[in-house]
Symmetry: C2
Subunit: 471 residues, 2 copies
């Protein structure tokens, strides 16, 4: 069992760690949507040695540690509502750019550096750091790596995992792994980097990262195309692969319900079509110098139209038009928040099963009740945000009784199709039960073995990802 | 301690596993260059259940298991020369293509499938499986993944790790992890896939793999350009990033010594330049439809010439000319074998330090003696094959006394520069000492913890990667 932080332990930390700043906890304990209120003693070391000192003190006292990065996670990985009061270890004073090597396409930073700042530094040396998501103005690299964040460019560049070359990590015993490699190839031993990436702080605290930069595409282009069906969208994706090669950087799926919500509650966006399509896709391409994205997208559209895949389309002719098309996609999550979902799901299935999933999930939910479904997301990755909303005139509160049934229907179907009930958000504390229920038992046994080997007292982010040992 | 395979154990396996084929061991025990002769009882199950049954029997009897894939590895991971006689578990009857999903860009196969066959199946559905290396006609997927193989397309597509979506693995206790995911995104728990990839069979036996296919580039082109220096080669690489985007699929470095060896001992290749350059690079690009690789490469050459980076160049105007340029690069390892190296090194350093490495390694070896150095390889990945040869008129045998000094000089310098002493070949048994010597102690402690948690009796590929427990 873990011990809670006591006033004596607080005093001990203050005495031995004068460089560590003790924070007013309020800002660090609330879940971003206000769903839960956590507890904890919030401290913010300014460097890796400080993190190691805090972890050592907690290890000696058997006190839990919750690593806190940008706090933008949606599955409660950063929020502990009950159990012994933990230390909340904020990274927000560890924001240094350590080095940038443009000739190597490498950037090394503290784990508290904010994603938007990383992207700016990369752009400043004419490089691209591709990871991009709605919360990039506040999400920090440590959390983005610990949760293996996704976003809109995964199709082309992979998720956070694919954009990391090396890590610096403070282990549960306070020892420091100096793994900030700038190497592209290194086959000397087990891949520990990828073990910490996605472990959500349960195996150690990421304190620094060596990130992989990319050449910036010389030219970029964007189109929105009406597709006949989800199956036609998949055919269009394959066609885009043949015509554009791997220059397709985003392939986002939008349902009519998304446009309807935008019209109903905003935010205001410019509608590209006179009649709202049942399904459409937003395609982004990044190409080499000398190519015309508009011409490539037009060629794609014409071939697709000839095959009966697309009915209408808009190809951006300027940066302003590109931004306007992206405003639609990026406005949908905000519109969803304003409407208020009954239940939201971040699922993935094998890409070719998406049409079947959409059909079967819709039919199964019809049997449960009357809802509005906004299904959108990263089609190119097989990742759908499948969100269920009240019918007009009702609110989220009117559906309390049905919420868990809806969730079960969606997650059971996802699992039957070999899918994932957490494509990009992670497990946190919200989905611990889902992982136990749907996870392969041999996988769970291996995870438990690693957790016990790396953190035998269970002090690292207790209760996240795995239930406490012995439960 | 492990037990050796006894005649009784052989008889027991034959009785309980009638479907397992017992092989004439000779072909499976020799190191590919004939450097060592191994020992073992060779068996070849035809499916995953058979592998699990063999592993269970070995676990009960505490008998070591050496997974044997294509047998092409160069660091002795597949060869046990001493200690208790192990079971050698060949995958060569597990060659089934399990499924291919062109719409998902996924191929699922048994771990014994040969790389060239995987590439053929992918091409047959108009896709690319990018992993490509000299031994692809005999290397099998299980070994390629277990060693995280590299090759010539890492710059663009990553190594084997980046081309795998999921695994099926038989663990040391005989349990089976069913992890053959077709998903692009799945953030449910620790990344076990990447732990088995590169573990060289020391944590379990990979029996199946879900592989990621790519769109085939619509058009491809190749050029060879003379560069003024290693530093100029790096500037050219950066320029290629700006002009070609991420369409650069290979960027290989060739020294004059490579051309000299080809002239001296063959194989016969067509020389592209009247005067052999000190340094040159081989560049491959794959582009979208409508682009001209020749025009893109010509634009790159002209810009580079304007900046004083390149002096002369050849741009292939046909597939035959492309093949002729690649023949030079691919002939070099064979020429090296014919000359006979004193000591070969598969190292990587941070890319921008390559010019410094070449200069300092050359100077340090000058102080040791008179050699010919053939330095070539995957410049875009920071991975050099830095091989040291006798001067003309002498042979490898004349340098026995200097071999370990040469190796130490190269590996020490690599380590001082933050490099890797095994960029793509792995640790096997040959480099166990190097890993202990150069590896971060915290990394080694974590590796040991994982090994002990996954394989407490140490039966999986004993002696590879890590020394036996307690040593």
């Amino acid at each position: 069992m873990l011990n809670p932080v006591t006033p004596e332990f607080e005093a001990q930390l203050r005495a031995v760690l004068p460089a560590v700043v003790f924070k007013n906890p309020t800002a660090y304990l609330a879940e971003p949507r206000g769903r839960w209120m956590g507890q904890g003693f919030v401290i913010a070391p300014s460097d890796t040695a400080g993190v190691a000192a805090v972890v050592k003190a907690c290890a000696q006292a058997r006190i839990g540690i919750v690593p806190y990065s940008g706090g933008t996670g949606l599955v409660g990985g950063q929020v502990v509502t009950d159990g012994p009061r933990p230390v909340v270890l904020s990274l927000d004073r560890m924001v240094r750019l350590r080095a940038v090597y443009p000739a190597e396409n490498v950037l090394i930073c503290d784990a508290g550096m904010i994603l938007a700042d990383v992207r700016k530094v990369a752009a400043g040396v004419d490089r691209l750091f591709p990871l991009s998501l709605a919360s990039e103005g506040s999400a920090r690299m440590g959390g983005l790596l610990s949760t293996n964040a996704g976003g809109v460019n995964v199709l082309r560049y992979g998720n956070a995992r694919a954009q990391c070359l090396g890590l610096e990590v403070v282990r549960a015993d306070g020892s420091i792994w100096h793994g900030l490699s700038r190497l592209r190839k290194d086959n000397t031993g087990y891949d520990l980097r990828d073990l910490f990436i996605g472990a959500e702080g349960t195996l150690g605290v990421i304190t620094g990262a060596a990130l992989k930069l990319m050449p910036r595409p010389a030219v970029q282009g964007t189109a929105m195309m009406q597709v006949a069906s989800p199956a036609a969208a998949l055919d269009l994706l394959a066609l885009a692969g043949r015509i554009v090669g791997d220059g397709v950087s985003a392939f986002e799926f939008i349902h009519r319900q998304g446009f309807a919500f935008l019209s109903e509650v905003g935010p205001d966006v410019k509608m590209p079509f006179a009649t709202v399509p049942e399904w459409c896709v937003l395609i982004d391409v990044g190409l080499a110098a000398g190519q015309s994205p508009e011409a490539v997208l037009a060629a794609l559209f014409e071939t697709a139209a000839g095959a009966g895949l697309v009915a209408d389309g808009v190809i951006a002719q300027s940066e302003a038009q590109r931004a306007a098309l992206w405003d639609i996609r990026e406005g949908i999550p905000e519109a969803n928040r304003r409407v208020g979902s009954i239940s939201s799901h971040d699922i993935s299935v094998p890409i070719s099963l998406i049409p079947q999933f959409i059909e079967q999930a819709g039919a199964a939910l019809d049997a449960v009740g009357d809802f509005r479904i906004n299904c959108f997301g990263h089609l190119g990755d097989g990742n759908l945000h499948y969100n269920v909303f009240p019918v007009q005139g009702k609110t989220r509160a009117d559906y309390e009784a049905q919420r868990s049934v809806i969730k079960d229907v969606v997650h059971e179907l996802t699992n039957q199709m070999g899918g994932s009930v957490s494509a990009e958000h992670g497990i946190g504390r919200l989905k611990v039960g889902d992982l136990q229920r749907f996870g392969d038992p041999v996988k769970l046994a291996m995870m438990r073995a690693i957790k016990d080997a790396f953190d035998p007292d269970g002090i690292m982010n207790p209760g996240a990802v795995l239930p406490p040992a012995g439960v």
